[in-house]
């Protein structure tokens, strides 16, 4: 029983991280109509920056309580990176999709090695952060309190993003732009600005995903590439450009994955991709996508 609860928590933990990545990917596509292949690598950058910051802080004797604050800092750094990179993509908004895919694929290759260049090939960890929180008892077992925080962050992020998009003026602008770029600029909206902010938010989400997961694991090369493909599965299931889609997709993928490890390890991954393919066939726009 308590095992079941823990496996559910494991899934929710994984889902919240996956949601952060996928939601960013989806938002960027929704607004800018670009499928960003480098998105997973932004997640990795978030992990590395955070792990590095925490490492420095601990080395400098900063009380570990404060290292908590470094998580959003790590995510923010990725957002800044996004702001710096978005202008690079501008020439491609009107170009054929294959060029968008390729330029972001090139970006992926570059960032992967920039990470290696900056932090070397060795895994970075930030577990002091994790050890700040005590474990909680579940039946006869224990579960890391920090993981519950991560789940919480996932929920907050989902609500927050939803609020921004559906309750704020900025959200209206975002949606308007995603509906019709020309119309938006005709209405005197600063499309360029909208794009930068959308891209930055997307990157922030991915970075946050990396930032909150790194204390529980380690930051390793290639983590972004694996993450990207799963984020793809999520948005394909949920629907490219749909926030609810990203949420539901993340939940589906996480629970299937956990069940896979427990019950059908051989086809754990295959099942995920098959679900994605199936959805794509039956409803190309995904469960929540709109054209």
């Amino acid at each position: 029983m308590s095992i079941l609860i823990i496996q559910i928590l494991n899934s929710l933990f994984y889902a919240s991280v996956l949601f952060l990545i996928a939601a960013g990917l989806s938002l960027i596509f929704g607004v800018m109509r670009i499928v960003n292949m480098a998105h997973g690598t932004f997640y990795a950058v978030g992990a590395f920056v955070t792990a590095w910051l925490v490492g420095r802080a601990v080395a400098l004797g900063v009380p570990t309580v404060w290292t908590f604050l470094l998580l959003p800092v790590g995510a923010g750094a990725v957002a800044l990176l996004g702001v710096a990179i978005e202008p690079l993509l501008r020439p491609f908004y009107r170009r054929a999709e294959e060029y968008q895919l390729l330029v972001t694929f090139g970006l992926l290759l570059i960032l992967e090695d920039v990470i290696r260049l900056l932090w070397g090939g060795l895994p970075l960890s930030a577990d002091p952060v994790m050890d700040l929180l005590p474990s909680v008892r579940i039946g006869g077992l224990i579960y890391p309190g920090y993981n519950l925080v991560v789940i919480g962050i996932g929920v907050v992020a989902a609500i927050g993003l939803w609020a921004v998009i559906y309750l704020t003026k900025f959200g209206v602008i975002l949606r308007a732009t995603s509906q019709d770029r020309r119309m938006a600029s005709a209405l005197g909206l600063n499309v360029a600005l909208v794009y930068v902010s959308a891209f930055a938010i997307g990157c922030f989400m991915a970075g946050l995903g990396g930032a909150i997961i790194v204390p529980t694991q380690t930051a390793v090369l290639g983590m972004g590439i694996d993450a990207l493909i799963l984020a793809f599965v999520v948005v394909v299931i949920g629907g490219l450009g749909s926030l609810q889609g990203a949420l539901v997709g993340a939940l589906i993928v996480s629970f299937v994955r956990t069940a896979g490890i427990q019950f059908f390890p051989e086809i754990e991954l295959a099942v995920l991709y098959l679900i994605a393919a199936l959805v794509l066939l039956v409803k190309p726009t995904g469960l929540f996508g709109t054209a």
Binding site: G121, I142, T218, R257
Partner: protein, 463 residues
């Protein structure tokens, strides 16, 4: 031998020569072998070219595997520097080293080895950590005639199947099947009441081999023991939580795992937070195989912590085995960290080569042909930091007594190490198939000669 009978477990373990304690080199014959770092006494015979001796060293410089693999390069460099300080091989040829990152993937590694030989013109290929790579590289080395000494990549498969009649390829570390068997013996010796066993292994040849041979041995040492859970995370996994939970869900007496390197570091930290170590005993094949400082003080004590049944720098300890003391000191001086079994393997590899070259030179003079070096390496035995090592001529495999130990936090080190009083040593000949034992596909279809040997010759234990 026909149907294995049954014997009492204690007798059985005794017969296998399993000894616990820190007293010294159980079984390791301190017979006269050339000592590793002895300078070349008499000058080389004949004319020796002074062209550099080019070596290619391939190991993990990146990825989670690097904490286990990179020390291989450090050991290699240390030996090369020492030898060059004495003027080089045969006092003339300085050792040069080019490197390659094993993390590039097996396909890329095959390409790179060809490039090293055909463009880089290397005289020796060494290193290689992953059992996924050595079976692919060995045939390439043979067909291109590259003198090769693998530091690791220790799967039985290399000399059982991939390269059954090795000519150019040697391997310095213990054969892989010894890992699982050593862990099994350690388990049976320490926790004879274990019955329900959970497995977590990396999903490639090493993990499969470690699981199979452990189970084969346990079936005989602890009859009635059963596998209650299996999990196969892929090499390089960072999130083990679901695998850990799965293992715990079977509430076993023992978790046996061959997860290694950075993966193991991630796994033990996550297992800690899931309280796994309070729920069950844990036996490993490679826990302390990483560069020692990679294991934190938070590592629980009393875990059967394998080192690939090769070497841990605190053993043989103190002044009982000066070779080791000296090696560890020199290594620490050079790299400001402690060596792991890869460091020792790579270090010894170069010295064995040196010895072979010198002997060949004594016989014929001049710089010896590869063939002459090879014939000297075959059957070569010498004392090394880890003890006495012997290269079996039939399969070019280095053999030394298997060791494993229990994790403990000592004040002397900033990381978890071995409990000096609870080191388990096993004479290697007792846990590996003897020379000439039929290889897979030749009279039997077991995955390894060792597996067949165990099935045919080991009795079932009782009590």
């Amino acid at each position: 031998m026909n149907q294995p009978s049954t014997v009492d477990r204690r007798k059985f373990l005794g017969a296998l020569g399993v000894t616990v304690g820190g007293t010294g080199l159980a079984g390791a014959g301190l017979m006269a072998g050339p000592q590793v770092v002895k300078a070349a006494t008499e000058p080389a015979k004949g004319k020796i070219p002074d062209t550099p001796f080019r070596t290619g060293h391939m190991t993990f410089f990146t990825s989670a595997a690097a904490v286990l693999g990179e020390p291989s390069h450090k050991g290699h460099i240390l030996a090369a520097e020492e030898i060059n300080a004495q003027g080089g091989l045969l006092g003339k040829r300085k050792i040069e080293t080019i490197t390659a990152d094993e993390a590039a993937g097996t396909d890329a590694n095959v390409k790179e080895l060809r490039r090293m030989k055909l463009e880089g013109k290397i005289d020796l290929f060494t290193g290689v950590i992953s059992s996924g790579n050595s079976p692919a590289l060995a045939p390439v080395a043979e067909e291109l005639g590259i003198l090769t000494i693998f530091t690791d990549g220790c799967t039985d498969f290399v000399f059982d199947v991939a390269d059954p009649e090795p000519k150019y390829v040697f391997r310095i570390t213990n054969i892989q099947s010894a890992d699982g068997i050593t862990a099994a013996l350690g388990t049976a010796q320490t926790w004879p009441n274990v019955r329900k066993i959970a497995h977590i292994h990396p999903d490639y040849s090493y993990g499969r081999n470690a699981a199979e041979h452990f189970t084969l041995a346990i079936e005989r040492l602890l009859p009635g023991a059963e596998v209650v859970s299996e999990s196969w995370p892929k090499l390089g996994t960072t999130d083990f939580t679901s695998h850990i939970t799965k293992a715990m869900s079977a509430n076993p007496d023992l978790l046996y795992t061959s997860v290694w390197g950075g993966d193991y570091v991630a796994m033990y930290k996550q297992a800690l937070r899931y309280g796994l170590f309070d729920k069950m005993k844990v036996a490993t094949t490679l826990a302390l195989g990483v560069a020692p400082h990679a294991i934190g003080k938070d590592h629980p004590e009393g875990v059967l912590s394998g080192v690939h049944s090769n070497y841990y720098f605190t053993y043989p300890g103190g002044d009982r085995w000066p070779l080791n003391k000296a090696f560890v000191q020199r290594y620490y001086k050079r790299w400001n960290e402690y060596p792991n079994f890869q460091s020792e393997g790579a270090y010894v590899a170069l010295y064995m080569l040196k010895t072979a070259i010198e002997r060949a030179n004594k016989l014929a003079g001049g710089w010896p042909e590869d063939e002459a070096i090879i014939s000297q390496l075959e059957g070569l035995g010498m004392d090394t930091p880890s003890g006495y090592i012997y290269i079996r001529p039939d399969n070019h495999q280095g053999y030394k007594d298997a060791v494993t130990g229990f994790s403990k936090n000592l004040p002397d080190y900033p990381f978890a190490t071995w409990d000096p009083h609870r080191v388990i040593t096993i004479p290697i000949r007792n846990i590996t198939a003897p020379a000439g034992w039929a290889k897979p596909g030749k009279g039997h279809n077991e995955s390894t000669a060792a597996a067949d040997w165990i099935k045919k010759t080991w009795p079932k234990a009782t009590g």
